[in-house]
Amino acid sequence: MIKFRFGAQGDLTAPVDDRLTVGDQRVVDFLAKVARKLLAPAVARRHPELGSLGYFLRPAELHRAIARMQRDDAITFPRGNVFHVPPANVDTIFVYSWALSALAGNHNVVRISERSATAADTILEALNEVLTDADPVIGRTQRMITYGRDDAITAALSRWCDLRVIWGGDTAVEAIRKHPLRPSARDLTFPDRTSWAALSADGWRAASPAARRDAVVGFSNDAYWFDQAACSSPRTIFLVGTDTGDVRAEFVELLLEVVDQRGWAVDAAMAVEKRVNAYGMAATGAISAMSFPANAVTEMSLTAVPDAPRRWIGAGAFPFAEVGSLLDLVPAMNRQDQTFSHFGFTPSQLREFALALGGRGVDRIVPFGQALTFGSIWDGYDLPHEFTRLTTIA
């Protein structure tokens, strides 16, 4: 059973006469109105993560994305039909993925999870409110639906689309990939990722108390916003320098303070989950020490950098490891690694690190507080480019 959440009801795969262009004004107008709704103070209070989304959809940002789609050496066109399968519980991803694709002029079908949370409902409400006054082409070309386990629907949409966008990790990618695409179509996949944080001990020591505090506030947003389970949520913290014990102690102390002030508590089930994971890592020797100064903060000492866990180990679980320099981390990084958030490094240290990685891992190197900020370059893909096709004239 298909439940239509947005756009015109009816056969999703029937040919449509409407045509949108790259940067279509009707789409820009629509998205700009959605942005205004999401940036309304009442919405931002209830769902702070929608503020970032609203910001991303402002006209200035939209025009920046459109500019990225234009080229000197070719004419850009919409890719065609795009089928999006966003993750169930990171409520905002489906909008980023869809909005960029709509901006590129594509006809989109977005499968929204049955388990989507209240922020997703708020977004859909805003989209539908704006839709009533919008150009009807929007509703005819942009559809968002929910359906349960139904291979037939997934198969039909897979045959229909020119590009299939699969979020949600390795298992989702493998499950959806069982359904063949047309020969000319392809997948854009977002598999399981791991994200890290690094703290320069020298940079920390040189920073003012206010700057240290700001860094911890930014880090705690990155870590706690999605229960430390988003692809970009930092997990292990690398302390870069020598004798970094003082830095770690102060960092944890500030973190406990900030978490307490924000009221970020974890429930008993999460507390047990974290114990299970920490004890498990202790049993295998991956960590040599663990402490539980508060339920919301679990602190662990990694035995060695390669033991840093790549799976989710609970909300507010922080393994620490000390390394002499960022370059020491290079051998431990791989293709699975996405976001590397940092504090206290110089631009040249970060650039040297990125060059040493040589594209073998880490797609984003961002300051503390920006780990979750979506960008049109994501997971190493230039999304505006992925959502368009090129025609050359010679």
């Binding site: 949370a117 386990r149 389970a229 429930d267 047990v272 202790a282 295998t284 040599s288």
Partner: protein
């Protein structure tokens, strides 16, 4: 002879030294366990509540044993809700000891002689490999304390009224044992006895398996007892136990409403925020302690069940009396990698 004899102070004095010795034994014999104690910075316990506990789920993720491979006599498994399986390793001594202690515990209410036994279950269940480990092991374990076994359900899981009637005709005039899972007893014995006027007044019921299915039908533990008394079944003992502490069961006392700890076992209820022991009356996470796990480090376990201690040294038997209140839900994160659960 009862195994419910020790007042709390005497029990704790005995347990703290026995369980501390077991902690040292496992520390030496089980390397992963030693690593956990080292990482947690554990040194010494002054009280029972100080003893270092392991989350019970660790036995699903890790191989934890304190015996060499060639001394493994039996590996017990439990099926978990997500398909994960606990593995519990017993050597000959531990296997014999758990049977002996389980026997001593149930004999407290059954007496020393083996009684005719009515099993409120189906024989077919023993053949179902999927459900065998949890339900089958319970039935098999308990069936050794009875004789002349009769199954109350046929191979299709339907009530076998003729079999029950036959059993009662033969054995109903003297004490007999009834064993089954709580919701099966409710569905297939209580209702059948009520509707058919069966006389169960000489029965001693031992039942287990959680209250969730009954609470879904709005049947509370006290109502369960009252309604069973209505069909003459007044000798009713619920118990709480788990494969990770095999041989140890916490048994409901004769007057009902509370589970009691045998002399070789105890419970601690912990506040899931501060992790400190909670006083009687305050519900929290249930920790179970037992001296039986000698072949694997399962002597102090934090369960994922919620419980409350009702009182100490103030009930049918000495020591703590408590109830299990339900299960802690499994933590779920909002994450990127979660489309797959419904991906098709």
């Amino acid at each position: 002879m009862s195994v419910f004899t020790l007042p709390q102070a005497a029990k704790e004095a005995a347990l703290v030294s026995q369980l501390s010795a077991l902690t040292e034994h496992h520390r030496l014999a089980c390397e992963p366990y030693a690593r956990i104690l080292a990482a947690a910075g554990f040194e010494k316990a002054e009280t029972v509540a100080d003893l270092p506990w392991l989350p019970v789920r660790l036995f699903k993720n890790l191989e934890l044993k304190s015996i060499p491979d060639d001394e493994v006599f039996k590996v017990l498994t439990s099926s978990g809700t997500t398909g994960e399986v606990s593995k519990i390793y017993l050597d000959k001594h531990a296997a014999a000891e758990q049977t002996r202690r389980l026997g001593a515990t149930v004999q407290t209410v059954l007496g020393p002689k083996r009684l005719p036994m009515l099993l409120v279950d189906t024989k077919a269940m023993l053949k179902d490999r999927r459900s065998f480990s949890a339900r089958g092991a319970g039935v098999l374990g308990m069936s050794t304390f009875g004789r002349d076994h009769v199954w109350a359900l046929d191979n299709d899981g339907q009530v076998d009224l003729d079999a029950i009637r036959g059993f009662l005709e033969k054995h109903g005039a003297q004490p007999f044992l009834i064993f089954g899972f709580t919701y099966l007893v409710w569905l297939h014995l209580y209702e059948v006895a009520r509707d058919n006027g069966l006389d169960l007044s000489n029965g001693i019921l031992i039942h287990s398996g959680g209250w969730k299915k009954l609470i879904d039908q709005a049947v509370s533990p006290s109502e369960f007892r009252e309604r069973l008394a209505g069909v003459g079944l007044t000798n009713v003992h619920n118990y709480y136990g788990m494969v990770e502490q095999i041989g140890t069961v916490f048994l409901e006392g004769p007057s009902g409403g509370s589970l009691y700890c045998p002399d070789f076992a105890d419970v601690v209820v912990r506040d899931p925020q501060t992790w400190r022991e909670l006083p009687p009356g305050e519900p929290g996470l249930l920790e179970v302690l037992s001296t039986l796990p000698t072949s694997y480090p399962g002597h102090v376990l934090l369960t994922e069940d919620l419980g409350v201690v009702h009182g100490i040294d103030d009930g049918d038997w000495p020591g703590k009396r408590f109830s299990v209140l339900g299960r802690l839900p499994r933590a779920e994160a909002r994450g990127c990698s979660d489309t797959y659960r419904e991906a098709a």
